[in-house]
Symmetry: C4
Subunit: 368 residues, 4 copies
C-alpha cells in the first residue's frame, strides 16, 4: 500500500481538537451503520483474472461526460475549515492536482467562487452538492452561483430531510456561525438555511432547470428509488448511507450496490456511484467490480487535510489511485471496464438481486 | 437519540437491590434467547427511501380500533411495586401521559381498579393481560373486573403453561405475598392462582365471551399458531418469546415476525404486534417495517420506573416515540404505513417465509 | 434448570487426575468438531407452540420396541473405572434407576454379565456396543455373551476403523491392561482386540444373525449411508461424530441430523438417534424436534460418575428428563411426537435437505 | 496428528531473523486473504462415510501422468537459502525422500541443475515454476535448462503480472543479489528479470513448445479462466491466491475450488490442484474432497527447512501424508478417488456453482 488511511487518521486525531475529531469521525445512533459500512467492502470476495496483459493499466474514466484521471473522488463533507486553515481551498487544490473529481459541500467554510477558482487553477472538475433548504430561494441562489462558477453537475442530497443524531455530539459548538454563513451570507435566516423535509423527486427537475446541469441524487439505497430518480431525469445516483450519519441500521453501500446496479442496467444514462467506508485501493476495486462507475471518499480527505493541507489531499488521492491501479494489475484488469464481474456473486449479492426484483415490481418510475 | 435505555438500565441497577434487578433482568436457561432477541433487531438491514416529503411525520396509529399517539406500548411485566413505591399507578399514569397503550399485568402489585383509574385520569387506553389460572373462576373474576374497569382488550398469555426457570433466581423471596395477593385477594388459594397448563385455543372464545372484549394472544412465534388464533377469533397476536424468560432457544421475535405477518396477510382483522429486546427508535422502526402494527417494551419501563416513577416512564415512551419519528423521517416515511417493506428481505426473512408456507400447510385453523 | 452439566464437569475436573480428565474430555485434531458439536444444538432456533394442553407431559417413548421413561440414554464410553471405583456397575444402576437406556461399551472396565445384572436389578434396558475387532471371533464371543446376558440390541460402531488421534493424549497410560482385559480375558492377543479396519455394511447382517438382536449403526452422518444401513437390515442409526474424537472437521450432529431423517422418512423400521454435545433439556428437545427418536449423552455421565457414582448418574438422567419435560411444556408439546417440526427450518437444514437429495441419488442401498 | 505445523512455525520463528520470518510469513495489504485462506479449509464440513473397508489405505495418486506416493507436494516459494544453508538442495532431497512432487521456484537460491540432481538422487519428480520475465529470452533459457535437467512439467505463474505489496516488508534487504542471480547469472539485467506484465493465455502454448512439457497454470480462481487455460492447452490449473501475497481480498482457495472443479468436469485432461493455507491432514482431505487432484504446501516447508533441513522437510511431508491416510481411514476412503463428495455441499459451495455457471457463460475458451 502506498496509502495507509488508518495511520493518517491516527495522525489527524492527534492534531485535531477532540470535539472536531468526533464531529468528523462519529456516526448516528449506535454507530452500527458506520462500522458495518467499512467492514462490508472487506467482505466482498474478489475473483482476480489471470493471464491478461496489464502492462499498461489505465485508471482513467469518464464520469457524467467528463474525463477523469481517477475514479476516486472527494465526497462532500462539511466545514473543512475545522480541519485546516485553508479549508476547502486546500481540498479543491489537492483534488484537482490529483485529477480527481471534487464534490463541493453546501456547508463549505469557504465561498463557492473561491473554491471553484482553486479547482480551476489546477484544471480540476467539480460538482456542487446542494441541500434543499427550507427557504428554496436560498438554495436556488447557491445553485445558480455554483453553475456560474463552473460546476459540472449538481448533487442533490436525498437522505437528509432531517439531520441524524450523532452519539458523540457535544452540541454544535465546533461549527462557528461565521463558518456556517460563509456561503449563505451574513443576513440569511439560520432556520431558513436548515434542510427542508419536503424534498421530493420533483426537485431533481427543479434543480436541473435552475442550473442547466446534470443532477445526481446522493443517498440512494433502494433499487426502486434508483429507478424513480432515473425516471425523474437524474443523471446518476450515489449509493450512500451518508457515512453512517443518518439512519442507523441502514444497509452498507457494498450490500446495496448490486441491487441498484441491477435496477439501472438498462438505463445507462443514469450512472451509479458509491461512497462510505472505502479506505484502500482494494476497497475501491471492490466497489467498481460491483458496478460503481466511480467512488467518493469523505473522512480520509479530512484526515489528509488535517495532516497536511492540499499536498496531503493530493497525495491521498494519488496514492489511492496508484493502489487501485496496482490492484487492477493484480486482478488482471487493464482498464476499469475490465473490473466488471470481478466480485464473487455472494449470498448478499443474490439477496440484493432478489430485492431489486421485489422493489422494482412495486415502483412507478414516473418517467419524466 | 433522545432516549438511552442502556444508561437508564445502568442507573436503575445502581438503585435497585441486586435480587430485584436480577428478577427483572434475567432470562431462562443459558439466556440465549434473552441475548439473541435484542441482537436480532439490530441485524435487520434497513433500506430507507429518499426524496419523500416528511415535513410532517405522524407516529399515530390505530390499534384494535383505538387511536393512539404512538405504536410503542407498555408490555405486561410483574410487580412494579418492586421498582417503585407507586408501582403500576406510576406506570399507568406515565403511559397515559405519553399517549401509549398500557398492558396491565395480572401480576400487578396494585389493584386493577386503581391502575385503571390512573390511566383514565390521563385519558389513556389499557389492556388487561390474563394468565389463565388453575382456578378458572379466579381468572374470570379478574377479567370481569378488568372489563368493568374499562380495559379495551384482554391479552391472553399463550406461552406460559408453566414458568420458565431463570438462572439468576435466588428463590421467590423478592415477591412478597402481599404483592402477590394484590388482585386475587387475601383468601385465594395460592396454588389455584398459578398458571393453568391446559389453556388452549378454545380459551380465546371463553375470554371473549366473558369480557365482551377483543382477545389478543401473546407469545405467538409460529405462522400456523397465528392462523389458528385468528381462526378461533383472536383480534391479534403478539410475536413474543416472553422476554427470553420461557423456552430458552426460542427464536428471536425479529426472526419470527415475517412468517407470522405472511400468515395473517389475508386476515387483517387479526393484527400482529411484537415485543422483546426493543431498545431504540430504530429497533421499533425495524419491527414496524417487518410488519408489526405496534410494539411493546417491558424491561425499559421497569428501569424508567426505578429511576423516576411516572414522569420517567412518560419520558421514556415519549422519547422512544420521538426517536421513532426521527427515524421515520430519515427513512422517508411520513406515516407508519409507509414503513412497509423498509427492511431488506434478508436470508432469515426468506427462511421465515419458507417456514410460513410449511407450517401453514400443516395447520387446521378451525374457523370459529 | 435442574441439571447444570457445566458445574458437574467443573466438579469432576477437580476430583479426577488431569490425565483422566483429558482422556475423557478431549477430542481429535484441532478439536473443531468437539466444539462445533456442542455449539450447533444451541444454534437450532426453536418455534414453540402455544395454547396446547400440557397439563400432563409425557417424556416416555418407545425405542426399538422397548418402552422407556425417557428418550435420554447413556452413550457408550470407555472404561468407567477411571471415573469411579464401581465403574460401569454404577452407570448401569444409575441409568436403570432413571428408566434410561444404557448402551454398554465393549471397552467396559467391568464384565458384561456384571453390568447386565446391575441393569436387570433395577429393571433397566441395555444395548451392547460392539467394536468389530481384528479377531472377529473375539467380537463374536462378546456379542454372544451380551445377547445371553440380556442385551436388547447390538450397536455396531461404524466410524472407528482406526482410532482418532487426540491432541491431549499423553500416551495410553491412563488405561491399565487389567481394565482393557476385563471382557476379552487375560489371554487374548491385544493386537487382535484392536478395531478391525475392514468392517462393512455386511457386518450388520453378521451381527444380527450372531445375536438374534436388532442392530443399530453408530456414527452415521450421511443420508446415503443411513439408507444403506437400512437396506442391510439395520434397525436404527445413531447420528454421531463419536463425540468429536474421530475425524476432526466432521459435521456436527445437529447439522447432519435433518438430512438423515429425511433419507429415512419412508423407512420407519430404521429409527434415527443422535449423540454428541447435548448438555441441557433444551438441547435434547432440539434433537427430538429435528427428528431424533432418542438421544444419548456421554461425557456428562462420566462427570456424574466421577462426582457421585450411581446416584449421581441417576440424578443427571432424571434431571435432564425433568428439564426436557419442562421444555416440552414450554414448547406446547405434551408428548414427544408433538415435537416434530418444532425447530425452525433454518438454512443449514435446507442445505442438509439438498445434501440428502444429492447423496441419495448416488446410493445403491443394496436391499437385503 | 503426527505433524504440528503451528509448533513447527513457532520453532522456525525463533531460529530465523525477524525480517526473514516476516518475508516468508507475511501477506499483502491487510492480510485478509492470508488469514481467510487458512480459515476456509477448516470451515469445510466433512461428511465421513461409514462401514467401508479401509484396511489398506492408499494415498498414492497419479498427477500429470506421474505416479506419486502422496498428493501433498511442495509449492514453489522463493529463496530457500534464507531458511537453511543448503537451500533448495535440502528441499529437493526432502521432497523426493517423501515421494512428494517438488515444484522448483524460478527464484531459487540454488542452480536448477543442482536442485534437479538432488531430486534425481532420491528418485523424485519435479516441476519448474516459471515467471515470465520482461526479457522473455531469460525465461526461455531457464525453461530450456529445466527441461534438460528433467523437469516433468512447467508451472506458469498466472497471478503475478506485478508483485503484491506486503505490509511487513522492510525493503528488499533480506534477498541478496547473489541469491537473486543464482539462476539468471551474474550478467543479466535485473530489471529484465522482473515479472512481465503482459503474460497471456498464449504463453501457455509458448512454454509448452519451448519445453516439450505439459504446462500448468498457477493462480487460477475463476471457472472461466480455468476453462480458458484448458482451451489454450494447459494440462492443469492450480487454484491459488499466491499464499495471500498478491491481491488482498482475493477469495480463499477452499471457496474458489468447487467452481473451478465444476468448470473442468468435462475436461479431465486439465487437472485441478490447490494451494494456500493447508496445515493438516484434514485440510488436505478437505481439498481433495472438494475435487483437487493434489495440493501443495508452501510456508510449512519453509518452517521445516529452517528447523532441520532435508530431514525435517521429509518428515513434514511424510507426516502430512500419514495424517491424510489416517483421516482417509476415518472418512471411510481407502483410495483418494473415494474422497469425492465427502465435503458437505455448503452454501458457499452452492454460490461457487452459481458463479461457475455465470462466469462460463461469459467465456470464450478459444480452443487450441
Amino acid at each position: 500500500m502506498s496509502v495507509d488511511v488508518t495511520a493518517l487518521e491516527r495522525q489527524a486525531r492527534r492534531s485535531l481538537p477532540a470535539a472536531v475529531y468526533d464531529y468528523f469521525a462519529g456516526g448516528s445512533g449506535r454507530e452500527q451503520t458506520l462500522r458495518a459500512s467499512e467492514a462490508a467492502w472487506r467482505e466482498v470476495a474478489l475473483l482476480p483474472r489471470v493471464l491478461r496483459d496489464v502492462s499498461r493499466v489505465d485508471t482513467s474514466t469518464e464520469v457524467s461526460s467528463a474525463s477523469l484521471r481517477t475514479p476516486v473522488g472527494v465526497a462532500p463533507t462539511a466545514f473543512h475549515g475545522l480541519a485546516h486553515p485553508d479549508g476547502e481551498l486546500a481540498t479543491a487544490a489537492g483534488a484537482a492536482a490529483a485529477g480527481a473529481l471534487y464534490v463541493m459541500s453546501t456547508r463549505s467554510s469557504r465561498r463557492i467562487e473561491d473554491c471553484a477558482a482553486a479547482t480551476a487553477a489546477a484544471g480540476g472538475t467539480w460538482w456542487f452538492q446542494a441541500y434543499v433548504m427550507r427557504d428554496r430561494e436560498l438554495t436556488a441562489g447557491l445553485v445558480r452561483r455554483a453553475a456560474a462558477a463552473g460546476a459540472a453537475a449538481i448533487v442533490l442530497t436525498g437522505d437528509t430531510p432531517v439531520v441524524g443524531r450523532k452519539r458523540r455530539d457535544r452540541g454544535d459548538s465546533v461549527v462557528t456561525e461565521a463558518m456556517f454563513r460563509a456561503n449563505i451570507g451574513p443576513d440569511a435566516d439560520l432556520g431558513a438555511a436548515e434542510q427542508a423535509a419536503d424534498v421530493t423527486f420533483a426537485d431533481i427537475g427543479w434543480l436541473g432547470e435552475l442550473s442547466g446541469l446534470p443532477v445526481i441524487v446522493k443517498g440512494v439505497l433502494r433499487p426502486g428509488d434508483a429507478l424513480a430518480c432515473a425516471g425523474h431525469g437524474a443523471a446518476g445516483v450515489i449509493v450512500s448511507n451518508h457515512g453512517g450519519r443518518q439512519l442507523d441500521g441502514a444497509i452498507a453501500p457494498a450490500r446495496a450496490l448490486p441491487g441498484v446496479v441491477a435496477a439501472l442496467r438498462d438505463t445507462p444514462r443514469c450512472e451509479v456511484f458509491a461512497d462510505g467506508g472505502l479506505r484502500t485501493g482494494e476497497d475501491v476495486l471492490a466497489a467498481l467490480a460491483l458496478g460503481a462507475r466511480a467512488v467518493f471518499v469523505g473522512r480520509p480527505v479530512l484526515w489528509a487535510l488535517a495532516c497536511g493541507g492540499a499536498g496531503c489531499v493530493r497525495d491521498l488521492l494519488t496514492g489511492l489511485t496508484t493502489d487501485l491501479g496496482h490492484a487492477m494489475a493484480l486482478a488482471g484488469a487493464a482498464r476499469i471496464a475490465d473490473l466488471d464481474g470481478l466480485a464473487a456473486a455472494d449470498l448478499d449479492g443474490l439477496a440484493a438481486a432478489d430485492l431489486a426484483a421485489a422493489d422494482l415490481a412495486a415502483v412507478d418510475p414516473s418517467p419524466r
